[in-house]
Amino acid sequence: MENRVKEIRTKLNIQQKDLAQLVGISRQTLSLIEKGEYNPSLKLCVSLAEELQTDLNTLFWH
Protein backbone atom coordinates (compact mmCIF):
# COMPACT_ATOMS: atom_id res chain seq x y z
CA MET A 1 0.00 0.00 0.00
CA GLU A 2 1.55 3.27 -1.08
CA ASN A 3 1.81 5.99 1.52
CA ARG A 4 3.47 9.30 2.30
CA VAL A 5 5.20 8.25 5.52
CA LYS A 6 8.72 8.81 4.21
CA GLU A 7 7.80 12.08 2.51
CA ILE A 8 6.24 13.60 5.64
CA ARG A 9 8.91 12.15 7.94
CA THR A 10 11.74 13.73 5.96
CA LYS A 11 9.82 17.01 5.73
CA LEU A 12 9.63 17.06 9.55
CA ASN A 13 13.32 16.10 9.71
CA ILE A 14 12.69 12.98 11.80
CA GLN A 15 15.12 10.07 11.56
CA GLN A 16 13.71 6.66 10.65
CA LYS A 17 15.10 5.15 13.85
CA ASP A 18 13.50 7.88 16.01
CA LEU A 19 10.06 7.54 14.42
CA ALA A 20 10.25 3.76 14.72
CA GLN A 21 11.05 4.08 18.42
CA LEU A 22 8.20 6.57 18.97
CA VAL A 23 5.58 4.23 17.51
CA GLY A 24 7.10 1.09 19.07
CA ILE A 25 8.33 -0.77 16.00
CA SER A 26 11.74 -1.65 14.59
CA ARG A 27 13.50 0.51 12.02
CA GLN A 28 13.28 -2.40 9.60
CA THR A 29 9.47 -2.56 9.91
CA LEU A 30 9.20 1.20 9.33
CA SER A 31 11.38 0.83 6.24
CA LEU A 32 9.03 -1.86 4.90
CA ILE A 33 6.00 0.39 5.55
CA GLU A 34 7.65 3.32 3.75
CA LYS A 35 8.44 1.12 0.74
CA GLY A 36 4.84 -0.11 0.70
CA GLU A 37 5.95 -3.70 1.28
CA TYR A 38 4.06 -4.11 4.56
CA ASN A 39 0.53 -2.95 5.42
CA PRO A 40 0.46 -1.81 9.05
CA SER A 41 -2.46 -2.38 11.38
CA LEU A 42 -4.98 0.41 11.93
CA LYS A 43 -3.56 1.02 15.42
CA LEU A 44 -0.07 1.48 13.96
CA CYS A 45 -1.43 3.73 11.19
CA VAL A 46 -3.06 5.95 13.81
CA SER A 47 0.19 6.07 15.85
CA LEU A 48 2.17 7.06 12.74
CA ALA A 49 -0.36 9.77 11.83
CA GLU A 50 -0.17 11.18 15.39
CA GLU A 51 3.62 11.28 15.45
CA LEU A 52 3.78 12.81 11.98
CA GLN A 53 1.17 15.42 12.99
CA THR A 54 -1.17 14.54 10.17
CA ASP A 55 -4.32 12.50 9.54
CA LEU A 56 -4.83 9.02 8.10
CA ASN A 57 -6.26 10.28 4.79
CA THR A 58 -3.23 12.46 4.10
CA LEU A 59 -0.80 9.75 5.14
CA PHE A 60 -2.30 6.72 3.43
CA TRP A 61 -4.79 7.92 0.82
CA HIS A 62 -3.95 10.66 -1.62
Binding site: K17, I25, S26, Q28, T29, L32, Y38, S41
Partner: protein
Protein backbone atom coordinates in the same frame (compact mmCIF):
# COMPACT_ATOMS: atom_id res chain seq x y z
CA UNK B 1 6.00 -2.40 23.28
CA UNK B 2 6.49 -4.00 26.72
CA UNK B 3 7.76 -7.53 26.31
CA UNK B 4 6.35 -10.26 28.52
CA UNK B 5 8.51 -13.13 29.79
CA UNK B 6 6.99 -15.42 27.14
CA UNK B 7 7.93 -13.03 24.32
CA UNK B 8 11.47 -12.83 25.71
CA UNK B 9 11.65 -16.66 25.63
CA UNK B 10 10.31 -16.71 22.04
CA UNK B 11 12.86 -14.06 21.02
CA UNK B 12 15.70 -15.98 22.69
CA UNK B 13 14.62 -19.32 21.19
CA UNK B 14 14.31 -17.97 17.64
CA UNK B 15 17.32 -15.65 17.93
CA UNK B 16 15.31 -12.47 17.31
CA UNK B 17 17.27 -9.40 18.33
CA UNK B 18 14.91 -6.63 17.27
CA UNK B 19 11.82 -5.22 18.96
CA UNK B 20 9.07 -7.83 18.69
CA UNK B 21 6.63 -5.61 16.81
CA UNK B 22 3.52 -6.50 14.78
CA UNK B 23 5.52 -7.35 11.66
CA UNK B 24 7.88 -9.80 13.40
CA UNK B 25 4.93 -11.22 15.33
CA UNK B 26 3.04 -11.80 12.06
CA UNK B 27 6.00 -13.51 10.36
CA UNK B 28 6.77 -15.69 13.41
CA UNK B 29 3.10 -16.62 13.93
CA UNK B 30 2.65 -17.65 10.28
CA UNK B 31 5.80 -19.74 10.34
CA UNK B 32 4.95 -21.14 13.76
CA UNK B 33 1.56 -22.32 12.48
CA UNK B 34 3.22 -24.12 9.56
CA UNK B 35 5.70 -25.79 11.92
CA UNK B 36 2.92 -26.77 14.34
CA UNK B 37 0.86 -28.39 11.58
CA UNK B 38 3.93 -30.19 10.27
CA UNK B 39 4.91 -31.46 13.72
CA UNK B 40 1.35 -32.59 14.53
CA UNK B 41 1.21 -34.53 11.26
CA UNK B 42 4.66 -36.01 11.92
CA UNK B 43 3.76 -37.02 15.51
CA UNK B 44 0.57 -38.73 14.34
CA UNK B 45 2.45 -40.60 11.62
CA UNK B 46 5.33 -41.61 13.88
CA UNK B 47 2.95 -42.79 16.62
CA UNK B 48 0.97 -44.95 14.17
CA UNK B 49 4.17 -46.33 12.65
CA UNK B 50 5.61 -47.12 16.10
CA UNK B 51 2.43 -48.95 17.11
CA UNK B 52 2.70 -51.10 13.97
CA UNK B 53 6.45 -51.72 14.20
CA UNK B 54 6.38 -52.66 17.89
CA UNK B 55 4.51 -55.84 16.90
CA UNK B 56 7.19 -56.75 14.38
CA UNK B 57 10.47 -55.44 15.75
CA UNK B 58 12.21 -55.32 19.12
CA UNK B 59 10.57 -52.61 21.27
CA UNK B 60 13.93 -51.10 22.28
CA UNK B 61 14.82 -50.62 18.58
CA UNK B 62 11.43 -49.04 17.91
CA UNK B 63 11.95 -46.65 20.84
CA UNK B 64 15.44 -45.80 19.61
CA UNK B 65 14.12 -45.12 16.13
CA UNK B 66 11.30 -42.97 17.51
CA UNK B 67 13.73 -40.87 19.60
CA UNK B 68 15.99 -40.28 16.61
CA UNK B 69 13.07 -39.37 14.35
CA UNK B 70 11.77 -36.92 16.97
CA UNK B 71 15.19 -35.31 17.24
CA UNK B 72 15.41 -35.04 13.44
CA UNK B 73 11.95 -33.41 13.38
CA UNK B 74 13.13 -30.89 15.99
CA UNK B 75 16.27 -30.14 13.95
CA UNK B 76 14.23 -29.68 10.74
CA UNK B 77 11.65 -27.42 12.47
CA UNK B 78 14.37 -25.37 14.19
CA UNK B 79 16.32 -25.14 10.93
CA UNK B 80 13.26 -23.85 9.08
CA UNK B 81 12.59 -21.20 11.72
CA UNK B 82 16.28 -20.25 11.83
CA UNK B 83 16.39 -19.83 8.05
CA UNK B 84 13.26 -17.65 8.18
CA UNK B 85 14.67 -15.47 10.97
CA UNK B 86 17.90 -14.96 8.97
CA UNK B 87 15.95 -14.27 5.73
CA UNK B 88 14.01 -11.41 7.38
CA UNK B 89 17.11 -10.14 9.20
CA UNK B 90 15.49 -10.51 12.61
CA UNK B 91 18.73 -11.87 14.07
CA UNK B 92 20.72 -8.71 13.37
CA UNK B 93 21.36 -6.22 16.11
CA UNK B 94 20.82 -2.50 15.52
CA UNK B 95 23.10 -0.03 17.25
CA UNK B 96 24.34 3.48 16.56
CA UNK B 97 26.83 4.07 19.33
CA UNK B 98 29.62 2.19 21.07
CA UNK B 99 27.51 1.92 24.27
CA UNK B 100 24.60 0.39 22.34
CA UNK B 101 27.00 -2.01 20.60
CA UNK B 102 28.43 -3.11 23.96
CA UNK B 103 24.91 -3.63 25.36
CA UNK B 104 24.04 -5.75 22.29
CA UNK B 105 27.23 -7.81 22.72
CA UNK B 106 26.36 -8.51 26.40
CA UNK B 107 22.87 -9.58 25.31
CA UNK B 108 24.39 -11.80 22.60
CA UNK B 109 26.81 -13.49 25.03
CA UNK B 110 24.03 -14.10 27.60
CA UNK B 111 21.67 -15.69 25.07
CA UNK B 112 24.46 -17.87 23.67
CA UNK B 113 25.40 -19.02 27.19
CA UNK B 114 21.79 -20.17 27.65
CA UNK B 115 21.98 -22.02 24.32
CA UNK B 116 25.27 -23.65 25.36
CA UNK B 117 23.77 -24.85 28.69
CA UNK B 118 20.77 -26.24 26.80
CA UNK B 119 23.15 -28.15 24.47
CA UNK B 120 25.11 -29.52 27.46
CA UNK B 121 21.87 -30.88 28.97
CA UNK B 122 20.96 -32.47 25.62
CA UNK B 123 24.41 -34.04 25.21
CA UNK B 124 24.49 -35.37 28.77
CA UNK B 125 20.97 -36.85 28.61
CA UNK B 126 21.79 -38.54 25.29
CA UNK B 127 24.94 -40.01 26.87
CA UNK B 128 22.93 -41.23 29.89
CA UNK B 129 20.37 -42.83 27.61
CA UNK B 130 23.04 -44.62 25.58
CA UNK B 131 24.80 -45.63 28.83
CA UNK B 132 27.93 -44.00 27.55
CA UNK B 133 29.06 -41.55 30.22
CA UNK B 134 32.75 -42.26 30.03
CA UNK B 135 35.92 -41.58 28.10
CA UNK B 136 34.34 -41.50 24.65
CA UNK B 137 31.57 -39.19 25.88
CA UNK B 138 34.14 -36.75 27.25
CA UNK B 139 35.89 -36.62 23.88
CA UNK B 140 32.53 -36.23 22.07
CA UNK B 141 31.49 -33.52 24.57
CA UNK B 142 34.71 -31.55 24.00
CA UNK B 143 34.46 -31.83 20.18
CA UNK B 144 30.81 -30.69 20.21
CA UNK B 145 31.58 -27.75 22.47
CA UNK B 146 34.54 -26.66 20.34
CA UNK B 147 32.31 -26.81 17.25
CA UNK B 148 29.54 -24.83 18.96
CA UNK B 149 31.95 -22.18 20.24
CA UNK B 150 33.57 -21.81 16.80
CA UNK B 151 30.09 -21.40 15.26
CA UNK B 152 29.15 -18.81 17.90
CA UNK B 153 32.36 -16.85 17.28
CA UNK B 154 31.77 -16.86 13.50
CA UNK B 155 28.22 -15.64 14.14
CA UNK B 156 29.55 -12.93 16.50
CA UNK B 157 31.97 -11.73 13.79
CA UNK B 158 29.13 -11.60 11.26
CA UNK B 159 26.84 -9.59 13.53
CA UNK B 160 29.29 -7.25 15.20
CA UNK B 161 32.08 -6.71 12.68
CA UNK B 162 33.13 -3.08 12.66
CA UNK B 163 32.45 -1.23 9.41
Amino acid sequence: MKETFFIKVVKWYYGINRPFDEYSEKVVNEAGNKVAVGLIAFLLLSSCLSMILINVLNSYNVLTGLIFMDLIAIVVASGYMGRLIKKHGFDYYEYDSKDERNACIKNYIFSNMLTLIFMWVLLYTSALWSNNVGGFFFFYFVVCNVGIIIGMYADYRRKFKKA
